[in-house]
């Protein structure tokens, strides 16, 4: 695939390096010419100096034949416009934007960006998982249909403790995918009992996370 990466900071650099290693054709656009020189010294001639929101830069980068544009600069407004110009002017099939301010994630998707990646949310999630004794942790947001993967720890006092899955009324469109009990990973069926201390990995609609929390924890 031909992938254009806009923004040559740490994220753009390592992304380009990774994509090149996977055998893709990659072009990185970076505004700062000194940074372009640095990148080209390490990765070979892959970086082009310029403003990725400018049509002239995108033409020079061959945007018309590119499959994916990934905008990972540090500025949300730049990432948004780079993706919109790529889509509207160059008909790029897939646009991916890094979102620095989590508040902008919904807006970006409303404005036609295909995929948004909010690093602030990812880091928050990772830290949340690392804090011991959290009873309900949002592990991952899936962009498909706004689903989430959550980890809920069954407490002694939980309404579902010592009951089988068939006895529990889960919120609609929610599925228990796996149960971690100590070192054992259980793929549950209707007769599986939920024991205090179990970690339940469930897939749920993001707006049903609170219902699920009340039920399981």
């Amino acid at each position: 695939m031909y992938i254009i990466v806009a923004g040559g900071g740490k994220v753009g650099f390592y992304l380009a390096q990774h994509l090149l290693a996977e055998g893709h054709e990659v072009l990185l656009i970076e505004r700062n010419p000194d940074r372009v020189t640095e990148i080209n010294e390490v990765l070979g001639a892959v970086a082009l100096p310029g403003d990725a929101a400018e049509a002239a830069t995108l033409v020079a980068a061959g945007a018309l034949r590119c499959d994916v544009v990934v905008a990972v600069t540090g500025e949300d407004e730049d990432n948004l416009v780079i993706c919109q110009v790529a889509r509207e002017k160059f008909h790029v099939g897939r646009t991916i934007a890094r979102v620095n301010n989590p508040k902008n994630e919904h807006l970006f998707r409303m404005l036609g960006v295909d995929v948004t990646v909010s690093q602030t949310n990812y880091i928050l999630n990772l830290i949340e998982q690392a804090i011991p004794d959290r009873s309900f942790v949002h592990l991952l947001s899936l962009q498909h249909e706004d689903l989430a993967i959550v980890d809920a720890k069954v407490s002694k006092d939980s309404a579902v403790a010592n009951r089988s899955i068939s006895e529990i009324e889960l919120p609609p469109n929610t599925a228990i995918a796996a149960i971690a009990r100590g070192a054992e990973l259980i793929v549950p069926n209707a007769n599986t009992l939920l024991l205090p201390g179990d970690d339940i990995f469930a897939i749920a609609h993001q707006d049903q996370e609170d219902d699920l929390r009340r039920l399981l924890v």
């Binding site: 407004e77 110009v85 509207e88």
Partner: protein
């Protein structure tokens, strides 16, 4: 009319002063408090420090009751993003967005934003004057001299 202006540079400050002078309720947003010094001493509107691409800052500036939003910071992309937030999230009836880059201006005009491009406008005026000086008036401004 309630008007929110993002960017208190020369243009933002002037538009704010004129609208304020003609009896409108004006709120000006800028990231730099020193920019508000460009407003005249008798300016009766409000000033908010912050970035207009942040929905909370826009709310604080009264965007929900605004009849018009004007995006005139120095950054094209910032203006474009704020204008789209004003139009699509807050449904402000009149949204005007300054874009220096003519190609980007064309793209977003097609997408339905009301845009102003100083580059093409000023270039046209300059060319017109140059042509009139050489007796090849384009007629764009009357061209009868």
């Amino acid at each position: 009319m309630n008007v929110v202006i993002m960017g208190c540079g020369r243009v933002g400050a002037r538009v704010a002063a004129l609208l304020d002078h003609t009896g409108n309720h004006v709120t000006v947003i800028d990231t730099d408090s020193r920019a508000f010094r460009r407003l005249p001493p008798n300016f009766g509107g409000e000033t908010i420090i912050g970035t207009g691409i942040d929905e909370d800052v826009l709310r604080k500036a009264g965007i929900e009751e605004a009849d018009a939003f004007i995006a005139v910071t120095n950054g094209d992309n910032r203006n474009i993003m704020a204008a789209q937030v004003a139009r699509l999230v807050f449904e402000v009836p009149e949204v005007i967005c300054r874009i220096y880059d003519p190609v980007r201006e064309d793209t977003y005009r097609r997408l339905g934003l009301t845009t102003v491009c100083p580059t093409t406008t000023v270039s046209a005026i300059i060319l017109d004057n140059v042509m009139r000086g050489t007796g090849e008036g384009s007629g764009a401004r009357g061209g009868t001299t």
